[in-house]
C-alpha cells in the first residue's frame, strides 16, 4: 500500500484537519466526537445533516456550505459514523426548524442514523438514497445502495432548505430526487483501505467489475475490459431499464442531468470520454441532457473507475439544481446573494 499517510489510525483526523484549515472560511471541524459544520450556522433553516463512512471525498464534508449541507458526520474509512456524532452535532447547531438526515442506504448507516434518531428530541426526518441500479432483485435484499446520486439530492434539497423550505417539503423533495436518479458504475482497479493495507479485491489486468459499489463491493459481473463505447452502452441499458421499472419517462422534455462521476483513480480526460459516449448514445435515443457534471464527486478511496448517474429534471429540481451553491467542492452562482 502506498499512500500519503502518517499513522493509519490518524488518517481521517489528519485529513479532516487539513480539509478544515484549507476551507476555514466555509467550515468548522469538531473533534470528539467528529463532525463538520458550516462556519456560520443558521439555526432558523431546516438543518441538513449527512454523513457516512470516509473515503468518498468530497462526499459529504466537501458539500457543506450555503445552498447545500449544514453538517457532515464522517465515520472511519468505509464505516458509518456512530450515533453520538449526529447527536452532538445537532446539539451544537440548535436547529429551530427540524433536522433532515440524508443517509445512503447501507445497513450500517441506516442503523446508526436510526439510533441517533431515537435519541434526539428535535423534529426530524430521513431521506434514504438508493440510486444504485446495479443491485438486481433488490426486493429480496436490504435494498439498493446509495451512491453518487446522493450529491444531487444534497444539492437540490440544500437549495430548498436555504430558501426556507420546511422539513416536510425538504423530505418530499429529497425522496423525489432520489427516485428520479439512477446510477451504475464500473471499476478498473480495487481500492485499498489504509488500515487494511491491501486491496479490497483482486482484479485481473484485463478485467472490469461492472456494477461495483463505492466501497469496492463486487457488482453485477466481472468481465473482460472492452471499448469505452461498449461499457457506456451497458451502463445506459441498466439505467434505461431502471427508469422503466420505476415507470419514469427518461425522455421527459425537461431533459436530464448527466453526472459522470470518477471513483478517484481515473483521470478527468477519461471521464470526459465516457461523457462523450453517453451523450452521443443519449442523443441517438432522443434523451436530452440539459445539465452536466463531470468529475470526482463520490469516490472510493483510490479506486479507478467511474459511474454515471442520470437524474430526471422537472422544473422544481432544475430550479434548485441551478441555484447558487458555495461549498468547498461545489461552487457556482452568485456568492453574496
Amino acid at each position: 500500500m502506498k499512500k500519503f499517510i502518517n499513522k493509519t489510525d490518524n488518517f481521517i483526523i489528519d485529513s479532516l484537519k487539513g480539509f478544515a484549515k484549507a476551507h476555514d472560511d466555509l467550515v468548522e471541524l469538531n473533534l470528539d466526537p467528529i463532525f463538520v459544520t458550516r462556519k456560520k450556522i443558521n439555526s432558523d433553516k431546516v438543518l441538513l445533516v449527512s454523513g457516512g463512512g470516509s473515503g468518498h471525498e468530497p462526499l459529504h464534508t466537501g458539500y457543506i456550505g450555503k445552498g447545500m449541507l449544514d453538517v457532515a458526520c464522517p465515520g472511519h474509512v468505509f464505516t458509518s459514523p456512530t450515533p453520538d456524532q449526529m447527536i452532538s452535532a445537532i446539539e451544537y447547531c440548535q436547529p429551530k426548524n427540524g433536522v433532515l438526515f440524508i443517509v445512503k442506504n447501507y445497513s450500517g448507516d441506516v442503523m446508526n442514523f436510526e439510533m441517533a434518531s431515537e435519541m434526539i428530541s428535535v423534529d426530524h426526518q430521513t431521506v434514504l438514497t438508493n440510486d444504485d441500479a446495479a443491485v438486481i432483485n433488490s426486493s429480496y435484499t436490504s435494498g439498493r445502495r446509495g451512491v453518487a446520486g446522493t450529491v444531487i439530492v444534497e444539492k437540490v434539497v440544500g437549495s430548498l432548505a436555504e430558501l426556507g423550505g420546511d422539513l416536510t417539503a425538504c423530505k418530499k423533495l429529497g425522496d423525489k430526487v432520489n427516485l428520479y436518479s439512477s446510477s451504475i458504475g464500473a471499476a478498473l482497479s480495487s481500492c485499498t483501505i489504509p488500515a487494511a493495507g491491501k486491496p479490497t479485491f483482486e482484479i485481473g489486468d484485463d478485467e472490469i467489475e461492472f456494477g461495483v459499489g463505492i466501497h469496492g463491493e463486487p457488482g453485477r459481473k466481472r468481465e473482460k475490459i472492452k471499448e469505452a463505447s461498449l461499457i457506456a452502452e451497458d451502463m445506459i441499458s441498466v439505467i434505461l431499464k431502471d427508469f422503466e421499472e420505476k415507470s419514469l419517462n427518461i425522455k421527459d422534455s425537461n431533459g436530464v442531468l448527466l453526472l459522470v462521476n470518477g471513483f478517484s483513480g481515473t483521470p478527468l480526460s477519461e471521464l470526459y470520454l465516457i461523457y462523450n459516449e453517453v451523450s452521443e448514445k443519449f442523443s441517438a435515443k432522443g434523451i436530452h441532457i440539459s445539465r452536466s457534471m463531470v468529475g470526482n464527486y463520490t469516490t472510493a478511496l483510490d479506486m479507478a473507475g467511474a459511474s454515471i448517474t442520470v437524474c430526471l429534471l422537472d422544473n422544481e429540481i432544475k430550479k434548485h439544481w441551478d441555484s447558487a451553491v458555495m461549498t468547498p467542492s461545489l461552487r457556482w452562482g452568485n456568492e453574496d446573494v
Binding site: G53, H76, V77, M111, A134, T141, E217
Partner: protein
C-alpha cells in the same frame, strides 16, 4: 457472572480477534467492504480502555457500559447491532442471575439485533450464529448441564453454524448486493460472533 470474569473475557476476546486478523479481514474483503476486522478491533480496544470503570459496578451497568462503548466506537453495521445486544441484555439481567435467567437475557439481546437489523435467521448474518447459539443455550440451561459439557456444546453449535453461513444467500448488509456470488463465503459478522462465543466458552471452562 463476576466483574472480573467479564473483564478477563474482554482481554481474551481482544487477543483472539488480533490473532485471527487475516481470517476475519479476508471474509469482509470477499463479500463486504473489508473493514469488519478494523471495526471490531476498534471496538475491542475501546472496551479494553474502559476496563477500570467496569470493576465495581453492578452487572447490568457493565453490559450497559459495554453497549454504549461499542455504540460510539465501532460504527458500520456491526456497531449498532452489537450495541443493541448489550444494551438489551443490560435491561434484562440482574446481579446473581442464574444461567436460565442469563439465557433469557441473551435471547432478548439477539432479538434486539433482529429488530435493529430487520433481519432473521437465514439472512447470512451474525444472526445465523447467534440464533442457534441462543436456542441451544436455552435448552442446556433448562436441562442444567455441567459447565464443561455446556461450553462444549455451545462451542460446537457456534462452529457448525458459522460454517453453514457459507451456503446461504445474503439478503442483509453489504453482501446482499452480491447475491449468489456470495455463496461459498462465510459471513464475517457470523465469524466474529463465533470467535467471541468460542473464546468465552474457553474462559468459562477454565473457571
Amino acid at each position: 457472572m463476576e466483574n472480573d470474569f467479564i473483564i478477563k473475557c474482554i482481554d481474551s476476546v481482544a487477543q483472539c480477534i488480533i490473532d485471527r486478523e487475516d481470517e476475519i479481514e479476508s471474509l469482509d474483503r470477499a463479500i463486504g467492504d473489508g473493514d469488519h476486522y478494523i471495526n471490531i478491533k476498534r471496538g475491542s480496544s475501546a472496551l479494553q480502555s474502559i476496563k477500570p470503570e467496569l470493576e465495581d459496578i453492578p452487572t447490568n451497568e457493565i453490559f450497559k457500559k459495554i453497549g454504549m462503548t461499542l455504540m460510539t466506537s465501532v460504527g458500520g453495521a456491526s456497531g449498532p447491532l452489537f450495541a443493541s445486544f448489550f444494551l438489551s441484555v443490560s435491561k434484562h439481567i440482574e446481579e446473581g442471575d442464574n444461567l436460565q435467567k442469563f439465557s433469557q437475557a441473551f435471547a432478548l439481546g439477539v432479538e434486539s439485533i433482529m429488530q435493529r437489523g430487520k433481519s432473521k435467521l437465514g439472512d447470512k448474518t451474525m444472526l445465523d450464529v447467534l440464533i442457534p447459539v441462543s436456542e441451544k443455550l436455552k435448552v442446556l440451561a433448562d436441562d442444567s448441564y455441567e459447565i464443561k459439557e455446556l461450553t462444549k456444546q455451545i462451542d460446537l453449535v457456534a462452529q457448525a453454524s458459522v460454517k453453514a453461513t457459507k451456503d446461504l444467500l445474503p439478503t442483509k448488509g453489504r453482501a446482499a448486493g452480491l447475491a449468489d456470488r456470495a455463496i461459498g463465503h462465510i459471513d464475517p459478522g457470523a465469524k466474529t460472533c463465533q470467535l467471541i462465543i468460542s473464546t468465552i466458552c474457553y474462559e468459562l471452562n477454565k473457571t
